[in-house]
């Protein structure tokens, strides 16, 4: 079953490379995402058994991330049905890469071997790069180049870290996660420390943590909304899963304190960087990219703080994905309608496209963690974790940064929504499919903010228990 849900997207990805019609490719992608989601939903009822000699295992953590990714792909695929009505470019490479990306991200969530995890994360970098330069403009090619260069060097460092981990696990003689965890006492602490630093820098590049974040505004600013959603909600969170796996090992070996303190440092730095840079931003997608840096910082902070913070971080993984769907798909829809995402070109969206205008405002509130959106709760949990561990200065900095980011985003989004309207390039008609997808994600975000289903709580608690207790 596990091999099947990785193979189906891969084979369909190969098949869309054949000469078929544009809409057929997109419909096939919708079907693949739908089948994927159905299978993932069935995993919530009965967890599949390990496969492929124990390399592919679905634990509570994997299930959580896999569900998030599956949802992202489903919503993006349906959104594409609407988007490609007005899109003239060939969809061949785009849909093929999307399906390969679905395959590799699934492997990331399933992999139970640190080496396989690295291979899968690296593969996601490769298949996401062509997505950024979908519109072959000069700027998007430049963004692709920057992304490829930074992330592949980063991922090379993570490989070095994986090798160091293998040295640390010299006596265990395996990089299978259960073997490393059960033989945690035999790990060499010094080598583990070096390995952790390399892994953090490597996967941190992929996550876009400050100071390795510079590819993010470029890549998200220049690519289509769909690509940004999958990168901000899926790709970066896959790298976060890698960091979570590392923290599993760290907590078992008593390095939780060490790892936690580095995570807190990079996390708060990301928040501050996002807060500083978002203020001067003139482009909607770029400012949302800074919001993504902020959310990654929050995730890492939660993981580093431990305790209730871990629960909050895992909950935030879901909320972040939903918020990113609302934010980037709305931004993509606006950018398609106006042919630009710059504040100088777009004003008064609400007069011409009332629904899109309202969705933009929802994106603002959902993305910055306002009540009643679920992002509010998860961010509160993480701030709570900071207060409970008596890090008052840290908690204050988090709140302050979140406030500044809200002001920065509000400034640009409200400028887009209100004011005298500018002339769009597309007919003044809303697209029902696109808006329905965004509205559904927003509704889910509100529902999760008010009521949390019991199975979800159970899976998040199980996943938090896998990571371990407070550092």
């Amino acid at each position: 079953m596990l091999i099947l849900i990785t193979l189906i997207p891969f084979l369909c990805g190969l098949s869309v490379l054949l000469p078929v019609t544009r809409m057929f490719r997109i419909r096939l992608f919708v079907i693949v995402s739908f089948v994927h989601s159905i299978s993932v939903a069935s995993f919530w009822c009965s967890r599949p058994t390990p496969e492929f000699q124990g390399y592919l295992v679905l634990d509570a953590l994997g299930l959580l991330f896999l569900s998030v990714i599956s949802f992202l792909f489903l919503s993006v695929s349906v959104f594409m049905l609407g988007y490609f009505k007005h899109e003239k470019r060939n969809s061949r490479t785009f849909t093929a890469c999307l399906m390969f990306l679905l395959c590799t991200m699934t492997v990331v969530t399933l992999s139970n071997h640190m080496g396989l995890l690295w291979v899968a994360v690296e593969a996601t970098t490769l298949f996401s790069a062509p997505l950024i330069s979908f519109h072959r403009t000069r700027e998007s090619l430049e963004a692709t180049w920057k992304y490829l260069l930074i992330c592949s060097v980063g991922i090379a460092l993570a490989l070095m870290g994986t090798f160091f981990l293998a040295i640390a696990a010299h006596q265990v003689d395996s990089l299978m996660l259960p073997a490393v965890l059960s033989g945690a006492s035999a790990l060499s602490v010094n080598w583990l420390k070096i390995s952790v630093i390399f892994l953090l820098v490597g996967y941190g590049c992929k996550l876009g943590l400050a100071p390795m974040h510079s590819w993010k505004p470029e890549a998200y600013g220049r690519s289509t909304g769909m690509t940004s959603v999958l990168m901000a909600g899926g790709l970066t969170q896959c790298a976060f899963l890698a960091l979570v796996r590392v923290s599993q090992i760290c907590f078992k070996t008593g390095l939780g304190q060490f790892y936690g303190s580095i995570l807190i440092l990079t996390g708060i730095l990301s928040l501050i960087v996002a807060a500083v840079f978002v203020l001067g931003e003139k482009n909607l997608k770029r400012s949302f990219a800074y919001s993504s840096i902020e959310h990654m910082g929050i995730l890492v902070l939660g993981l580093g703080l431990g305790g209730v913070g871990i629960f909050g971080a895992l909950f935030h993984v879901i909320n972040n994905a939903l918020a990113k769907v609302v934010m980037f798909l709305t931004a993509g829809s606006v950018a398609q309608k106006y042919g630009s995402a710059n504040s100088s070109d777009v004003r008064g969206v609400i007069h011409l496209y009332p629904v899109t205008g309202i969705l933009l405002i929802i994106a603002l509130f959902g993305g910055t963690g306002m009540f009643p959106f679920a992002t509010f709760h998860s961010e509160l949990m993480i701030i709570n974790a900071a207060v409970m561990s008596k890090r008052y200065l840290l908690a204050g900095t988090i709140v302050l940064s979140l406030g500044i980011i809200f002001i920065g985003l509000a400034k640009i989004v409200l400028g887009f929504v209100y004011g005298r309207s500018t002339e769009p390039v597309l007919p003044k008609r809303e697209n029902a499919i696109m808006n329905a997808v965004i509205a559904l994600a927003a509704a889910l975000l509100v529902v999760l903010g008010i009521w949390m289903p019991a199975p979800l709580t159970r899976v998040i608690s199980d996943a938090a228990a896998l990571i371990g207790s407070t550092p």
């Binding site: 071997h113 080496g115 690295w118 291979v119 690296e122 490769l126 790069a129 062509p130 330069s133 519109h135 072959r136 403009t137 000069r138 700027e139 090619l141 430049e142 692709t144 180049w145 490829l148 260069l149 592949s152 060097v153 090379a156 490989l159 070095m160 994986t162 090798f163 293998a166 040295i167 010299h170 006596q171 003689d173 990089l175 060499s188 010094n190 080598w191 070096i194 220049r222 289509t224 993509g332 950018a335 398609q336 042919g339 630009s340 995402a341 710059n342 070109d345």
Partner: protein, 217 residues
């Protein structure tokens, strides 16, 4: 056989240094190919003269990919670029060699305090791979052209490969991963082709840009 391994390690560091001191891109690619060739011979020395079939496969695979295919693609890639040499390295050649030498010294100094379980203290694998890694970073940072940045990345990757090779002969999966990284390099270079489209655009002014400074989404 340890002499052979040590000699190869030192040669690999030496080649990285000479790439740092090279001005022409063609020369850099040639040195990279030589370095990869030496690297690909190393699996044959690992087991003190007993060459197993896995060693030969690994050696041949590395040789074909790193010393053959990758330089070939790089040469193919620069065929279209008019400027064959690095225009302006950020640091001059003389001072970059001095910096490189300092990095090598640093790598040896750091690895003095690191002892790999089951290896002799005088083993050159770790310091040399660290040195190559750092030199690769240095090339990447100080060179401005896209091709030279890729070369820097490739050298970093060679450093990691050297590390994997001289430290693990009992871990097949890890080495397989190294080869996987190689496949990645091939794909990475396709991105250069993409970048070429970019560079071709830069030949003349972009007509779209002059009409209206709007992005297309």
């Amino acid at each position: 056989m340890t002499t052979w391994i040590d000699a190869s390690c030192i040669l690999i560091v030496f080649f990285s240094l000479s790439i740092l001191a090279t001005y022409r891109i063609v020369g850099m690619i040639q040195i990279y190919a030589l370095q990869s060739f030496v690297l690909s011979l190393m699996p044959l020395f690992l087991h003190a003269g007993n060459v197993s079939s896995r060693d030969i496969v690994l050696s041949l695979g590395t040789m074909v990919l790193k010393a053959g295919v990758v330089p070939f693609i790089l040469f193919w890639a620069i065929r279209r670029i008019s400027m064959r040499s690095e225009i302006k390295p950020i640091i001059g050649l003389g001072s970059s060699i001095v910096c490189g030498a300092l990095l090598v010294a640093g790598a040896f100094w750091v690895s003095m305090s690191l002892r790999i379980p089951g290896k002799a203290a005088a083993d050159l694998g770790l310091p040399c791979s660290l040195a190559v890694l750092l030199l690769g970073f240095m090339i990447m940072v100080t060179r401005t052209r896209a091709v030279t940045q890729v070369l820097g990345y490739l050298i970093i990757e060679n450093g990691i490969f050297l590390f994997a090779l001289s430290l693990f002969d009992s871990m097949p999966t890890l080495i397989e991963m190294g080869i996987l990284l190689d496949i990645f390099v091939a794909v990475f270079i396709m991105a250069i082709v993409l970048n070429h489209i970019n560079e071709e655009f830069e030949q003349g002014p972009d007509p779209e840009k002059q009409v209206k400074p709007r992005e297309v989404f």
